[in-house]
Structure formats: C-alpha cells, structure tokens
Symmetry: C2
Subunit: 366 residues, 2 copies
C-alpha cells in the first residue's frame, strides 16, 4: 500500500494504491476537484452498478456533484461513436476547459476517458480511478486511445492524468479470470526489468490467487518500472517500446478472437510466449525457459486455444498493422535475457516458423 | 515573399510564402518527404479540382506517389464522421507512424488534417499547404480541431506541423469574398500588436483588393505576430488568448448563421466591432474608433446583416459555450488601445447592452 510518483517533463503525478483511497479527494486532491467548474465521471456501466456509489460518496463529501456518463463495459466503449457521444454529453452539460473528468472502470474506460479529456476543447485534466488489476498498467503513462474497425488503439494521443487512485477493496470482487488477466502486465514489467523478480513470480504458487497486500506491493513495483521508462521516453521514440513486450502478437490474438474473446491480459500472455520463442533465435533465451513459461501459464489457467483454432495468416494480417511496424517491416520486443529487452526486426518467415513452433510447444506441455 | 520560423519548445518549423513554393519538396523538404513510408494528402475536393495537380507534380518529381483522400469543401469536412473516414482510409492504405500527411485546402482542411495527424497512432507528422488567405492564420500555431453539433472547434488538440508552404499563385484565383474573409485575421494581428500598423491598414484604399507582393509581406508580418505569441504560450494559458480577439462574438455569429452562412473571416469582422464596443467600457477605445472601424468594414464590403436578423439570445447561447468561458463567466479579449490587448470578464448584461449599441452604430454608419 502506498504511492509512486510519475515524473514527466513539466508534469508529475502520483499513483496511489490503497484501501479507502477515494478519501484522498478530501485531502490531497481537494483543491484539484473543487477548483474545477464541473466534474464528470465516465464509468463502465457494469462496474458502475457495483461500485460507483463508493466514488460518488467520496466526491459528495467534498461538496462535488459529479455528472455521470455511463458507457458499455469493456472494449465496446472504445469506439468512435461512444467517443463522440461523450463529447456531446459533456458539451451539453456545460463543461469547459476548467472542468475535470474521472475514468471509473478498467483499462478500456481509462483509454476512452483519457482520449476524451485529451481532445475536449483541446485538452482538459483527468483522473484515473482504475477498477481492475490490469488497468494498473494502462492507467499510468498517458497513452489514450480508441479502436478502429482496422485495429486496436489506432486513434489516440498522449495525455497524462492528474492522479491515479487505485482502490484495493475493488480487487476483492474481481472474478478469477480478471485477476489472471491483470497479472500479465506485472509479469511483463518483471521480464523487461529484473531477472530475480521474474524468477520470484515464476516460482510463486499463489500467483493467480494473490493476497491483496502482496498484490498491492507488486503492482507498485510494476508501476515503478513503467514510470521510470515513461519518464525517460514519454512519446515512445526509444525504450518505451519495451513496454510492448508480448503485445505485437498479443494484440493480434485479441483481434483474431474478436474483441471480448480472450481478454487483453490473456492475449498478451500468449504474446509473451511467442516473443520468448522468437527470442531463442537472437539471444540467450533457450527452449527450456520458453517451455517453463508455457507450463507456468497453463498451470495458472491461461489458455493457448487461439494458437490451435486460427491460422498463421489470421494473426499476420493484424501484426502487419501494428503501430511499431514500419516500411512493411515487423518489429518485435525480444529478450536477451530476463531484464534485458531489445527491439528486433523479424521477417515474415521467422514469424511463421515461430508460430508453428509455438503450436508444437503448447501441445507438448499440455 | 520569404519565410518566418516558428519556435516552440523542442520543435521549430518554417512558414514559407512564395511563388513555386512546392519546389521546396525537392530541396529543403526532400528528406522529410522521402523518408516517410507513405505520403497522404487530405484535400478539399473543390480546391483539389482546381489545383491538386500542382502539388502532385511537385511530389512526383521527388519520386513520391501520394495517396489522396478528398473531403467535402469548407467546414463540412470538420465532422466526426469525416475524421473517422480519414483514419480508416489511411489505415487501409497501410500508413504507419513513419507516414506523413499533407493538408491541401483552406483552414478547415488544415484543422481536420492536423487533428487526424495528431491522433493517428497517437501522432504522426504533417505539412500544411494552405490555399486561402485566411488559412495563413490557422495553418500556423498547431491548433487542430473538428466541430461538434454543440459548437465549433470543440474537439481537437495541439499538434505543430513540420512545415507550412503557402503558394501565392493560388491567391490569383481567389474570389473577392475569400480575399475579404482572409484579411480579417491580418487586421486582428495588427490590432493586438501594433498601433502604427493598425493605422496603416485602416487607411489603406486597396485593402480588399491587395497586390500579391504587398499581401505576401503583410501575411508574413501577421505570421510573425502569431509565431511570437505561440512561442511563448503554446497551450493558451496566457497571452495566446489574445489571438482570440473578435472570436468570442465572431464564433457565435458564425454558428447563429449556420456554418457556411457568413465565412469565418466575415464573422470575426463583426466580432471585432463588438469587441471594440465592449472595450469602450474598460479602456481608451472610444466611440469614434469603433465607428471608424465599422465604416471601414462596410466600405470594404463586409456585412453586418446578422446583427439585425437575429436576437441577442441567439448569440448568447453560443458565447456561453465558448472555450474561454469558465464557471459560467464570459471572458473577452478587449483592447486598452491598438497594440494592447487584455482579457476581461464581462457580465451578460454588459454583453446585451453592447449588442443593442452595435445595432445602433451599424444603422448609423450604413
């Protein structure tokens, strides 16, 4: 339990993970929230039905009456049409450049709200109140986006929140699949930064059913990794690309299954296995490391079904649209070893071979 | 004829006004344009039918085959739906973060293209090739936007172009009304920066039928004023607000008449008369200055018809939605005197009185 500070040129903000964290509206964030002429909440309708009262009460006790815009749960809210509806809604409510938005929900609502805030009258402030474990990642770092029929997160901008408030009480009601999905980015943060920490996670028996105290301190570690990278490279010219470890193939899995099929985290888990496999061609990563990771994933309930159900070409068409692709070239974040990521151009043929190899390895470990 | 440099923290770019300015693609901008993996042009369909060949030839002679996206002429292109179409179009064409866009048309296409570029995969580069006099203003400074049913420029972001190339040969085919509309922002730049220059313009007999040489050097002066302000205050926390002189009422005029009724420049001309009138209550501006400006406007063919045809309440509802409004308070840029702008909070009552006074003054001068 505690906080981490994200430092970005000219702007810094705190990420808090705690019980009763919304009490901070009455203390640390009292002036931020009461100096705004309007406060709006964009809330995932499912999460809102369970927990919105908690957030509203905290705001009411500062004398703030927020205006609520409910949006469809999950990735369904990240469309151009919902984006336009949000703008119209807040314009009709009289919001100005001195208004503030709050994202209440998982990563999808955070991405949407961030992009609305980034572009409402050319930019207003916003606060992230993530409600899932997975969103410990997307809520930090200022990437905002919506999806297009042609691909995920294709339209968006960089816009840093004023604060990130993570209520740990909400973890208790998360279904096991959400927990599993959320742990993926934590593994990623470990893999790209720290060999010992990676080893700790891979040998943890309670990985997919963590205690809240352990989880909170682990998430803070993950946020620190991300904050350090983002502080150096806000706009992803260089090392911020490392945060995409597992995401090139992962996003393709997510897209091929249809948004809402496998979750983002579950898809990225497959993507990390794929990246480890590709790494074998270029680094010290060897088959026993990759195989151990696949075993670890399977034993924690992650599924590799899409690798069997779809053809390589299905994934390839999405990978080619990846934002890191350039001049028709596929670029992957790979590992020299745990803690040592690098970017590598990979040919279509190498990608295809790795795909068939992944099918074999999964079959072997299942 | 010449260029001005806009300096913004960490980024600087040149604005060129010249004959055969697209030849610069083969020299100054050769590496910018040939290092991009795709080049796209978003073009006003009307302007494209007249002049696109000029731009395409210049690009072809660098070995670049641009992809063209035609959009409706004028403000009709600044909708959420055209914005979405542009993104889908360039995604289907395989554009990446290493691609570049070119805006070809008036201010509307520039605003749209800038916003598409600002948000395509979270931001790619773009070049402004403005084709109207008015767009000498909007092409510089990095404000990008689309309109919402609730108001003009309500959704957008700040995104600086890589270059602005202004072909003066295109001025020759501009209809008189376009010329008139374009001169408005020039007057504004004079009024907020320089008393002697303001006097020069107000006493110029050829104001609405300028020579190209005179016009080019005047536009460069206007761009210098804007560049200096933007360099100090990119995000409009302070003195950049001065550039909105005449725009609070001007935008309301434009909205009340319906987009496409009076042009932006014609509407802002009325807005400047209104702001001078409001200034009389707070500064050294007196009725003879305001009346002279109204006379000057009328004699140069500007219309004040909307001030007679619509009620104060029609304008007020739009002014309240102005992006500079805050806590229900209307804020206007006024003049202490020519060259000395300031921001003033104005009550609804003062606004209403000024409106009826404007009706009287116009009637008097007509």
């Amino acid at each position: 339990m505690g906080k981490r500070t994200v430092q970005i040129k000219g702007h810094s903000y705190d990420v808090h993970i705690d019980r009763n964290v919304y009490d901070l509206f009455s203390s640390d964030y009292y002036s931020l929230i009461t100096n705004a002429d309007h406060v709006g909440i964009i809330a995932d309708e499912h999460v809102a039905s369970l927990h919105l009262a908690l957030l509203k009460e905290a705001l009411n006790s500062c004398g703030v009456q927020p205006v609520i815009k409910l949006v469809p749960a999950g990735e369904q809210c990240k469309t151009l049409s919902v984006y336009g509806e949000c703008h119209s809604f807040f314009l009709k409510e009289g919001f100005t450049r001195n208004s503030i938005l709050i994202a209440f929900g998982g990563g999808a609502v955070g991405d949407l709200t961030g992009f609305v805030a980034a572009t409402f009258m050319r930019g207003i402030r916003f606060i992230q109140c993530p409600t899932t474990i997975l969103s410990h990642d997307s809520a930090v770092g200022g990437k905002t986006a919506i999806n297009m029929p042609e691909g995920k997160n294709m339209v968006g901008s960089f816009h840093q929140p004023s604060a990130v408030l993570f209520e740990t009480a909400l973890f208790e009601t998360l279904p096991p699949r959400e927990v599993r999905s959320g742990m993926t980015e934590l593994i990623k943060h470990a893999f790209i930064s720290d060999a010992a920490w990676s080893e700790e996670l891979l040998s943890n028996d309670r990985f997919s059913s963590p205690s809240i105290d352990w989880l909170s301190s682990e998430l803070l570690k993950g946020i620190q990794v991300k904050a350090d990278i983002v502080a150096e490279d806000e706009f992803e010219y260089g090392k911020r690309k490392f945060l995409n470890f597992g995401h090139t193939f992962g996003h393709a899995v997510e897209a091929v299954c249809g948004f809402g099929g496998l979750s983002h985290g579950e898809s990225v888990m497959i993507g990390m296995a794929y990246s480890l496999l590709l790494s074998e061609n270029f680094s010290e990563i060897n088959s026993s490391i990759t195989n151990r990771f696949i075993r670890f994933s399977l034993s924690n309930g992650y599924s590799f079904a899409p690798v069997r159900s779809f053809k390589f070409e299905d994934f390839l068409q999405y990978m080619k649209k990846d934002k890191k692709a350039s001049f028709g070239q596929l670029n992957f974040v790979l590992l020299k070893n745990f803690g040592h990521p690098f970017v590598q151009a990979v040919t279509e043929e190498e990608c295809e071979n790795a795909f068939y190899e992944l099918q074999k390895r999964v079959e072997m470990e299942e």
